[in-house]
């Protein structure tokens, strides 16, 4: 398929005439004409990508980012306190099967899950469309899905607002309100994205239509969920129900008041088991009282299927040990109740592993969206400054200087402290405060480009400014900005972690920074597992993005180019 925006690249000689993996020494011109050592020409980005894949550090980074992205997309399906299948018996004796996990998925979860699965399939599919085209279509589809869901949530909040005008209230109390809202918002987003010239019209309609087909049902089923309650374990313990969970049977916001901080590998039932033995540590327990304690394990609410093996194991282990001190018996009990929380819990009794998985989504989405915002703002302002120069440059550069004058973290702390604490606001403030680098870079590039012949001729034939700036000049100047976006994502993730650490992050959201802040927050106590895992996750993510960025930077470095002939 023809590629309008790729054309300027195709006319230029490929940046690298040598694929780095190949061991061809020198080739003479004659040999080249004979067809020896001739390589298939590839696009600029394909060439750069091939180089990146040869670097071990970059491969490590890509692997880690892949893992984080996978969890970001599928965490609700991997870690959820709602069972996948829940069979309960009603009082009338009927058996009812429900699927709570799917009932409680919200619109974002559904859309992200479907979209991620589709994206993986599309990128790997062996179809005849260039990968860069597929990637571009995917980026726009993702943007459309994100905008649709965010707009849907915003509209819902507006309709539910206390001060909403009467016509909004009438609509809101109407019968099919959610369905109408879902269709309306999706249609508007469809119209906007189908009109954007990012691919052929047929493809655009198809892609935007596919997204709308996902967002309408996703918003219909997931925009307004009942408040979450996790009463399943009580029912299972009472023997009236049976639950099948996914991999990690805990939601990040699931907490029990009787349960506080647990170390990695400790069990959910540990507090009950601990409170079971009331004797002082040095008291001797004979086999009779131990047997009574073992019998009482069954009354603690542990499901019958789990408690019976536990009891028999304890009986077997303690047969020859009696009499035993109460302290030793407690230890035996601690060991016996199996691990439930691989990474322990935080001070509210919420699973750390589950929170870490959900936090992947927060980090990745804030990193990507805020960098996107920053690049768009920065490129626009930088292009205007560089193209016009003079007083436009003078005035706009003062704006740039404002953001350079104070450390960004200061501004971010002020903004995050005073504005509403949610994910969207955080994306916007990080994006709006970090565009300066891109703007300065594009400005410098455009200063060089604006006197070049192709720009002069574009101007002389009377092309509109938009076309000169973004169609002719930008493709020649944006490479480095796109490569540096990798570092920008890393910095945005770092900012999010720091703000969350300071308690200024999105509320009610699992976040690595917030987990980390709990490691030392209690009076003088230090909780190693809350310090090590979330911190390591931030570190590895930032490191991976940096390594990828460095490899990409090397890949587009013209000094790497060597003559083969």
């Amino acid at each position: 398929m023809p590629e309008a925006t790729d054309k300027p690249r195709d006319h230029l000689p490929s940046a690298f005439d040598e694929a780095p993996t190949e061991q061809i020494e020198t080739v003479t011109g004659v040999e080249l004409m004979q067809g020896i050592g001739v390589q298939e020409s590839r696009g600029f980005w394909a060439e750069a990508w091939a180089y990146v894949l040869t670097r071990k550090t970059a491969l490590f980074g890509l692997t880690w980012i892949g893992i984080v992205a996978f969890f970001a997309a599928f965490s609700p399906y991997l870690a959820n306190g709602h069972p996948l299948i829940f069979r309960s018996t009603t009082q009338a004796g009927e058996s009812v099967t429900t699927y709570p996990l799917f009932a409680f998925l919200n619109a974002g979860d559904i859309t992200i899950g479907v979209f991620a699965a589709f994206a993986i399939a599309l990128i790997l599919a062996p179809i005849g469309v260039r990968r860069s085209t597929r990637l571009r279509v995917l980026i726009f589809m993702g943007a459309q899905a994100g905008v649709t869901i965010a707009a849907g949530l915003y509209m819902l909040a507006e309709f539910k607002d206390r001060n909403a005008p009467d016509w909004m209230r009438r609509l809101e109390s109407g019968e099919h309100f959610i369905l109408l809202l879902a269709i309306g918002v999706s249609l508007i987003a469809f119209a906007i994205f189908a009109a954007m010239p990012y691919a052929r019209a047929r493809w655009r309609l198809l892609a935007a239509g596919a997204v709308a087909c996902v967002t309408v049902p996703a918003m219909f089923f997931g925009l307004e969920n009942p408040p979450e309650t996790f009463g399943y374990r009580e029912q299972v313990a009472a023997g009236t129900a049976e639950a099948t969970y996914t991999l990690i049977p805990w939601s990040p916001n699931q907490r029990r008041t009787d349960l506080d901080l647990l170390n990695p590998g400790e069990s959910y039932y540990l507090p009950q088991v601990r409170s079971l033995v009331i004797e002082s540590d040095s008291a001797e327990l004979d086999s009779e009282s131990i047997e009574s304690y073992i019998a009482r394990l069954g009354e603690l609410g542990i499901p019958p299927g789990e408690v019976e093996p536990l009891q028999s194991r304890l009986r077997r282990d303690l047969k020859n040990e009696t009499p035993i001190t109460a302290a030793d018996f407690r230890e035996e009990l601690d060991d016996a109740v199996g691990p439930d929380f691989a990474l322990g819990t935080d001070s509210l009794g919420q699973s750390v592993l589950s929170q870490m998985l959900y936090a992947c989504r927060l980090s990745i989405s804030i990193g990507i969206v805020s960098t996107g915002i920053a690049v768009v703002i920065g490129v626009t302002i930088g292009a205007l400054m560089g193209y016009f120069g003079g007083w436009v440059d003078m005035v706009l550069f003062r704006v740039v200087e404002i953001f350079m004058a104070v450390p960004l973290l200061f501004l971010l702390i002020v903004a995050a402290a005073v504005l509403p604490r949610n994910t969207y606001v955080m994306m916007v403030i990080i994006g709006c405060f970090t565009w300066v680098g891109a703007a300065r870079f594009i400005r410098a590039e455009f200063f060089k480009l604006r006197n070049m012949d192709f720009v002069q001729s574009a101007r002389s034939v009377g092309l509109p400014l938009r076309s000169i700036l973004f169609k002719h000049m930008l493709p020649n100047g944006i490479t480095a900005v796109l490569v540096d976006a990798s570092f920008a994502v890393a910095v945005a993730i770092l900012f999010e972690a720091i703000l969350s650490y300071l308690g200024l992050g999105p509320v009610d959201q699992a976040s690595w920074g917030r987990l980390l802040s709990e490691a030392t927050n209690q009076v003088g106590a230090f909780v190693p597992h809350l310090a090590i895992y979330p911190g390591a996750a931030i570190f590895l993510t930032v490191l991976s993005l940096t390594l990828i960025g460095e490899s990409l930077r090397d890949a587009i470095d013209p000094r790497r180019k060597k003559a083969r002939v």
Binding site: E401, I402, A405, V414, V418
Partner: protein
């Protein structure tokens, strides 16, 4: 060169205005606005006193005017060029400005035929030095000053009290007017959040048949009475001010209209202390941290960058590069938490103090290590401070190595490929001399500009480090101030840091020009 520096310094002004305005508007946007923490601190109070206090606070800090006006007022105080009457400086160094103007209540013409005039206050005359009986061991001049201060204090507090009363009455009157407007169905007179919009009622005749009218009239008359009282109190306060109980601040340029005075950063809401004092306490601590950290970064990063460049591709090059990048990626919050947890906490190694800048009793220590009376060595003030600063400085420096050493390496490599190096090699200059005298000197240039990029990053980094280690520097100050929406402290901090930063950028540019004769600024 001089004209370049002057131009840059002049361009600083719009930048600083922009940044403070941006921050001010952000703070003003916050729910509850700027005074949120002030009014929240009232505790248990009956409604009238709360209204009085609210009115007083809003009036005292000008919170009732729109944000842009508040910003301009702040600007007026900070700017060294002042308009209007010069302020007075009381013996404690606090600035006292001309008593504030008093606006008449809204729609006063509904209640009274004409605005009341202030009662004439007789001009204040001060006693001669001999006329006051000195207390304790005062000199006659001090005794007179005491009388002056007391008169001024009395006049001011009278006016503040009357003003507060008037504002509280005015609020009641406005509530009554809102009720009236709602009863009459005049929607334009009530804003969305239920406040009075004066314009909606202006020019209309009051409808005295309304059932709410009596309430409006009663509240209005009380307000007018309070207005009269406040006017009188103000006239007396003005008379005291005109008699100049204290010396005047600054220098006059056009007397009574234009003067030049020291910028006034205002007084913190939350701590009731001048902001300049708070900054004077906090800034040296932050600067100390940075002044210790900077040489460490340069001393480690530059030699390793040089070594990596001279042995390009060697194991040292690879390992130092990877290691520094890995260090750069360690988030400072993580490093701080781990350092506190494993190195400082008593549960683990317990090698270092967890928080603070000094041990208890540090003011009594000798400055240098010394042998005490019982023959034991005591660490002394300076070693104690170093001991406390070890972990914070560690957290501050480790991230800076990567950028600087990478830059050194790149600059050195670039210069190694230059013709003059080949020439030097060809004529037999020792390798050592090539590296240090030729290549390194020419590679210094980018390192100078690096200063400009590292400095803001270090300032930001020290915010987090100070927060983690509870060090009372600028970072702790600003984070606390933001939490309390303390307008003056936030703005003053932003102004200070902005100014320091821009000057650092300018300094880097000037150094660049000094170091490289090829660069000229016009």
């Amino acid at each position: 060169m001089i004209s370049y520096i002057v131009r840059r310094l002049l361009l600083m002004i719009p930048t600083l205005l922009g940044i403070t305005f941006l921050v001010f508007m952000l703070v003003a946007l916050s729910p509850g606005g700027i005074g949120a923490s002030l009014s929240a601190s009232g505790g248990q109070m009956d409604a009238t006193s709360r209204a009085m206090q609210q009115a007083y606070l809003e009036d005292r800090y000008g919170l009732d005017s729109p944000p842009v006006i508040q910003y301009l007022r702040w600007l007026g105080r900070v700017s060294p060029i002042k308009f209007g009457k010069r302020d007075l400086v009381d013996p404690n160094g606090e600035l006292i400005s001309y008593p504030k103007k008093l606006d008449p209540p809204p729609l006063w013409d509904w209640i009274a035929g004409e605005l009341p005039e202030a009662r004439d206050a007789p001009p204040v005359e001060w006693p001669e030095p001999g006329e006051v009986v000195p207390e304790d061991d005062e000199t006659p001049a001090e005794a007179v000053q005491r009388v002056k201060s007391r008169t001024h204090r009395r006049g001011t507090s009278d006016y503040i009290r009357e003003r507060g009363r008037y504002v509280a009455r005015q609020n009641e009157y406005e509530t009554a007017l809102v009720a009236y407007a709602q009863e009459r169905g005049i929607k334009a007179a009530v804003t969305r959040d239920g406040k009075l919009n004066e314009g909606g009622l202006e020019g209309k005749e009051p409808d005295k048949a309304s059932p709410v009218w009596e309430r409006v009239q009663a509240a209005g008359e009380r307000t007018m009475a309070a207005y009269q009282e406040a006017l009188n109190a103000r006239a007396e306060s003005v008379a005291v001010f005109e008699a100049r109980p204290f010396r005047q601040a600054g220098f006059p340029i056009i007397p009574g209209v234009l003067s030049v005075a020291m910028p006034d950063l205002g007084k913190s809401f939350s701590r009731s202390r001048p902001v300049s004092d708070l900054i004077a306490e906090a800034l040296p601590i932050t600067l100390l941290l940075n002044v210790i950290a900077f040489p460490i970064i340069y001393l480690i990063a530059i030699p390793s960058g040089m070594l990596a460049a001279t042995r390009q591709g060697s194991w040292f090059d690879v390992i130092s590069g990877t290691f520094f990048v890995a260090l750069w990626a360690v988030p400072v919050v993580w490093a701080g938490v781990l350092a506190i947890g494993f190195l400082a906490s008593d549960e683990y190694l317990g090698l270092f103090p967890v928080t603070g800048l000094h041990s208890q009793g540090a003011p009594d220590m000798t400055f240098l290590p010394a042998r005490a009376g019982d023959g034991d060595w005591r660490a002394g003030y300076i070693l104690d401070t170093a001991y406390h600063l070890f972990l914070p400085v560690l957290c501050l420096v480790y991230g800076g190595f990567a950028v600087l050493s990478k830059q050194t390496r790149a600059a050195m490599l670039e210069n190694f490929n230059q013709d003059y190096v080949r020439t030097a090699k060809a004529k037999g200059v020792a390798h050592r001399d090539i590296v240090f005298r030729h290549v390194f000197r020419n590679s210094l240039l980018p390192l100078i500009t690096m200063f400009a990029t590292i400095f803001p990053a270090m300032l930001a980094g020290s915010v987090i480090v100070e927060k983690i280690f509870s060090i009372p520097g600028m970072g702790s100050l600003i984070i606390e101030a933001i939490g309390l929406r303390d307008r003056e402290v936030i703005l003053a901090n932003v102004l200070m840091i902005g100014a320091v930063n821009i000057v650092a950028l300018l300094l880097a540019d000037i150094l660049y020009a000094l170091a490289d004769p090829r660069i000229a600024f016009d």
